[in-house]
């Protein structure tokens, strides 16, 4: 579900980034003081690293021959509480993005919303907490894990669809794309839920104190208000980017030049240059786009060759 940069427009990425940054800022304020008092800082760090390591261990999915791994949003929320889990999961997403190219840097805000917020701030307080209660009975934890994971991942899938459609990247109709994404993520959500339940049941057996309910605070109403505000921001302010009208930068060019494209010249100099170009061009019969592409490729090869010959080694070590 990690959204790559190529699938979002700068407007949608920026909008999601603003909402995610606001949530992280609220989160940081909420956790201020609590982290030092309860030893949450090292716990969050170690559990973030744990989720990262656990994602590398795949379990086999019966009857399919394939394997899957845990995402960890609901599990982190069950262990740390929703706000601490959001920061931890967001940190894991940053590590995955920067070190393993899993999810884009610009799309980080989208990924924090899709995978972090949907699981920890929505599915956990609204689904897991009411169903699991005080985590005293195993069947309740199993039901809560499965339901919360399905809800979290389905919400994330809906968000991915909305963000991609708003960005105007895919030609697939919204309904078909939504059906495809939610269908696939229903299965993934069930797998995630079962895996989360299995781990939480193990924890209940060997370290029941880790699932103590007093850790799991988090107001669902304030979260929903933030989330709805973000959704309106994304949907309302940035929808124009996906429209047929010029995008932000084209609009700016349009304002400056009076049109969305810079018109070709018709003066004597331009005509003379065009004639020279026609004579000197390596590929005169190809249309301009082809010539542009081939020209770019030649430039890239030249740049690569020249930079390979230059040594940028410095004597001073970095600070």
């Amino acid at each position: 579900m990690h959204l790559a940069d190529a699938l979002v427009s700068p407007g949608v990425a920026g909008g999601a980034g603003v909402v995610s940054a606001a949530l992280i800022a609220v989160d940081a304020r909420k956790l201020k003081g609590v982290t030092e008092r309860e030893g949450l800082v090292p716990m969050m760090g170690v559990l973030g690293a744990f989720v990262f390591a656990a994602q590398m261990i795949n379990f086999s999915i019966p009857g399919t021959g394939s394997s899957g791994h845990i995402v960890g949003g609901v599990m982190l929320a069950a262990l740390l509480g929703p706000w601490a889990a959001l920061i931890t999961l967001a940190s894991v997403l940053v590590v995955q993005c920067l070190l393993f190219a899993d999810g884009g840097l610009m799309a980080l805000g989208c990924n924090i919303l899709n995978m972090g917020v949907c699981s920890t701030l929505i599915a956990y307080p609204l689904v897991f907490k009411p169903l699991a209660g005080d985590c005293g009975r195993m069947w309740r934890v199993v039901a809560a894990s499965v339901c919360a994971s399905v809800v979290g991942l389905e919400l994330g899938a809906v968000m991915v669809t909305v963000e991609t459609e708003l960005s105007g990247v895919t030609a697939l109709p919204f309904g078909s794309f939504l059906g495809l994404m939610t269908g696939i993520h229903l299965l993934i959500g069930l797998g995630e839920g079962i895996a989360t339940a299995a781990v939480l049941c193990f924890v209940m057996k060997f370290r029941p104190g880790l699932l103590s309910p007093e850790k799991r605070q988090g107001g669902s109403t304030s979260v929903l208000a933030w989330f709805l505000g973000g959704a309106i921001l994304l949907g309302g302010c940035f929808a124009w980017i996906a429209s047929e009208d010029p995008d932000g930068l084209e609009w700016s060019v349009g304002r400056l030049t009076g049109g969305t494209e810079i018109a070709g010249g018709t003066g004597d100099v331009e005509v003379a240059l065009a004639a020279v170009q026609q004579k000197t061009s390596l590929l005169p019969d190809y249309d301009s786009t082809w010539s542009g592409i081939i020209g770019c490729a030649i430039v890239l090869v030249l740049v690569w060759a020249v930079t390979s010959l230059i040594s940028f080694r410095r004597k001073n070590k970095p600070v």
């Binding site: 190529a6 940081a28 982290t35 030092e36 030893g39 800082v41 716990m43 969050m44 760090g45 170690v46 559990l47 973030g48 690293a49 744990f50 390591a53 590398m56 261990i57 795949n58 379990f59 086999s60 019966p62 845990i70 920061i87 967001a90 590590v95 920067l98 393993f100 190219a101 899993d102 840097l105 105007g168 990247v169 895919t170 030609a171 109709p173 794309f177 895996a195 299995a198 781990v199 193990f202 060997f206 370290r207 930068l249 060019v253 301009s288 786009t289 542009g292 020209g295 430039v299 740049v303 690569w304 930079t307 230059i310 940028f312 080694r313 410095r314 004597k315 070590k317 970095p318 600070v319």
Partner: protein, 264 residues
Amino acid sequence: MTTIEKALIRLHEVDAQSRGDFLLQTLDARAKVIVTIAYIAVVLSFSLTSFSGILLFAVFPIVSASMSGISYGQVFLRSMIALPFIAFVGIFNPIFEREPMLVAGDLTISRGWVEFLSIMLRGVLTVQAALLLIASTGFQRVCRALGCLGVPQIFTTQLMLIYRYIYVLINEAIRMDRARRSRSYGRRHYDLSMWATFVGQLLVRSVGRAERIHRAMLARGFDGHVRILGHLRWSSTDTAYCILWIGLFIAGRFFDLSSVLKFL
């Protein structure tokens, strides 16, 4: 080699690359973060039917790779990792957008295929920019740069702690996985119950470790803030680096440089 062992090698690789003594490694991390974000934003701002305009932006990762002493081929291969999900979303464009767009002799390419190639190209270039940022800077310095650029301290502290403990926990998971594989007669994957025991055990050990770490941190006067020696230093080279690249990005975005190349 298992996925988890490959991940550990990748972490060591990034650490080694970021400690190089090439020009890009010596620049301030903030300059590199700003330029990388500007690059990605400009590449994404092109219309879907642009291809040659975006292709020219490959100059940035090629030059950055050279400036940091990293093989561009290696970066290129690594950036392929991101393509499957992008291809999954983009492959519907050739199906729905069939109007011809490029004609060269008998070959006609539809609008959908141009859009698909453009999406894939954006995917590769933006991933390369992010990979080069981290390879030339290192994770810790990127975190410090993010902190200087206004990211809340608790978030940057988390990033640093996670990065620190990833090594520890991945090593622990590798040891556990190796012990399990040596007793499992070639079975690659875990069935769910065994996986739950494995991951649950790792979790319980991790929590125990976190508690010990917290006590050790408290004993050394920890007050919620991780203090780091050394400061990021912004020099005139960093200013020049930012102005040069951002100027080139703006020029590449607002003027069709690929049409100028027709004179070749």
